[in-house]
């Protein structure tokens, strides 16, 4: 996204702001442990965890800020936060 003079923006820009770049820790989902309960999807403050066709859940890393709430709340400890090297 090119800079706008005076950091001016039209409304509805949250989709354009790729907030994934904020992330320090990245969540990894273990499908062996996942019970498809959907709690992570419900609690994700960014709303970026989506159901896949196989009914597993998967975060959209373009927007995931790495807050770690999903990993903290997962009852099956199926989500691991790993430091991301950029």
């Amino acid at each position: 996204m090119a800079l706008a003079i005076g950091c001016r923006a039209k409304p509805g820009k949250s989709r354009d702001n790729k907030t994934g770049s904020w992330r320090v820790f990245k969540p990894f989902f273990d499908r062996e442990k996942c019970t498809k309960c959907g709690l992570c999807q419900t609690l994700c403050p960014e709303g970026c965890i989506h159901e896949t066709e196989e009914e597993f859940v998967q975060p959209d890393y373009t927007y995931c800020k790495g807050c770690g709430i999903c990993a903290e709340e997962c009852p099956g400890e199926a989500i691991e936060m790993k430091q991301e090297e950029k």
């Binding site: 005076g6 950091c7 001016r8 039209k10």
Partner: protein, 384 residues
């Protein structure tokens, strides 16, 4: 037409001729006469502007930011503590790229409380992105407002601008001023065309937040805009000279500098005194010259290095100090002269209204010739 008028009234008249649509300011000595005069003009229907009265300077400049973002030509004036109270908004105005013009009747910063002149207030805003013009006399203080609006509103610049003139020394002094007519100003300064503006039908936010991925580049872009103002000032200043006979194309003024061995560098009204002192010293055969800085932001480093390339020594006079370092002007002149062997010495003087006389200028010239400098000048040892 030449008229004898107080500096503040001349500035107010110049502002009226610029047709600001919104004025918001809070009275503070020695700026008060300017905003009182403008309030009178609005009340008497001599100026078609909204005059927003507010409870302090923070609100005054905040109102200006909103009005400028909404697409109005905007004006304010303040000094010293009032400017300090605006500090946070000043950075926002520059970052949002809003061409607000504000007059500073330069005054010392408290504590201790002082209503008298030095240039510490506006100098302290040097890193904010505001353009800074410094007037030597009331004619220039008047003219610089027309220039400031032209440059600030240029779409290659889009930055706020300070027009600084020394409090009391200029603001409360009666001098002859050649005031332009409305027709002349309208020709030189066209109607304000905002680059973008707040509009409910086409919403936009100004000064959104920037993550570490973007902030760095925003500061870079704003720095580039300040630097681009150099060419815009040169062109707009030249055009002013062509139209009205007073040329402001140079960001620095050279006075008897051609064959000078000792150069004095200074800003503001003190330069009138320095010119008289130079004339007297020249009559005694001493080769002294002055380099007056009219535009402090953008800083004319190249012009200064060029103008001082042939002198043997330089004395930089500062009515301000970056405490723990040196005067702000001296720091930047030394930077401009980096790599040259010409000694550049700094003298802090005239703080908080201390008079600077011709004999003081002669004494500083004697000091710089002996290599003594980088110090406060004229300390009263008996009170220390």
């Amino acid at each position: 037409m030449l008229e004898i008028t107080e500096g503040s009234f001349a500035v107010a008249e110049a502002v009226r001729l610029c047709r600001p649509q919104v004025i918001s300011a809070y009275p503070i000595t020695p700026q008060t006469h300017i905003v009182e005069a403008l309030a009178d003009m609005v009340a008497n229907c001599q100026l078609d502007a909204d005059y927003i009265t507010v409870e302090n300077e923070l609100s005054a400049l905040s109102a200006c930011v909103g009005a400028s973002a909404a697409g109005s030509r905007v004006y304010s004036a303040t000094t010293s503590q009032g400017l300090a109270l605006m500090f946070e908004v000043c950075f926002n105005a520059a970052g949002m790229r809003l061409p607000i013009v504000m007059t500073i009747a330069n005054r010392a910063m408290g504590a201790p409380l002082s209503i008298w002149n030095d240039q510490q207030d506006s100098i302290s805003l040097r890193d904010s992105g505001w353009l800074q013009f410094y007037a030597e006399d009331n004619q220039e203080a008047t003219d610089l407002h027309f220039l400031a609006y032209r440059v600030a509103e240029d779409h290659s610049v889009l930055l706020p601008a300070l027009v600084c003139f020394d409090g009391f020394i200029l603001s409360h002094t009666y001098e002859p001023v050649d005031m332009l007519t409305q027709e002349q100003v309208d020709t030189y300064l066209p109607k304000f065309t905002p680059y973008q503006r707040l509009d409910a039908a086409d919403p936009i936010s100004f000064g959104m937040y920037a993550t570490p991925d973007y902030y760095h580049e925003f500061r870079y872009e704003t720095d580039n805009a300040v630097k681009r103002a150099k060419d815009v000032i040169k062109n707009a200043g030249k055009e002013f000279g062509t139209m009205f006979g007073r040329d402001y194309s140079a960001m620095v003024e050279e006075y008897r500098l051609d064959d000078a061995e000792t150069a004095i560098v200074a800003m503001g009204s003190i330069c009138g005194t320095i010119k008289d002192a130079i004339d007297e010293m020249r009559a005694e055969g001493k080769k002294i010259g002055l380099l007056r800085i009219r535009v402090f932001r953008p800083f004319p480093s190249e012009d200064i290095a060029q103008a001082l390339s042939k002198v043997k020594r330089v004395a930089v006079l500062d009515k301000d100090i970056s405490l723990g370092a040196k005067g702000a002007v001296a720091l930047e002149v030394k930077d401009a002269m980096y790599g040259k062997t010409i000694p550049v010495l700094n003298y802090i003087l005239g703080l908080g209204g201390r008079d600077v006389r011709k004999k003081d200028i002669a004494a500083i010239v004697a000091m710089v010739e002996k290599g003594q400098g980088d110090q406060f000048y004229g300390l009263r040892k008996e009170v220390l």
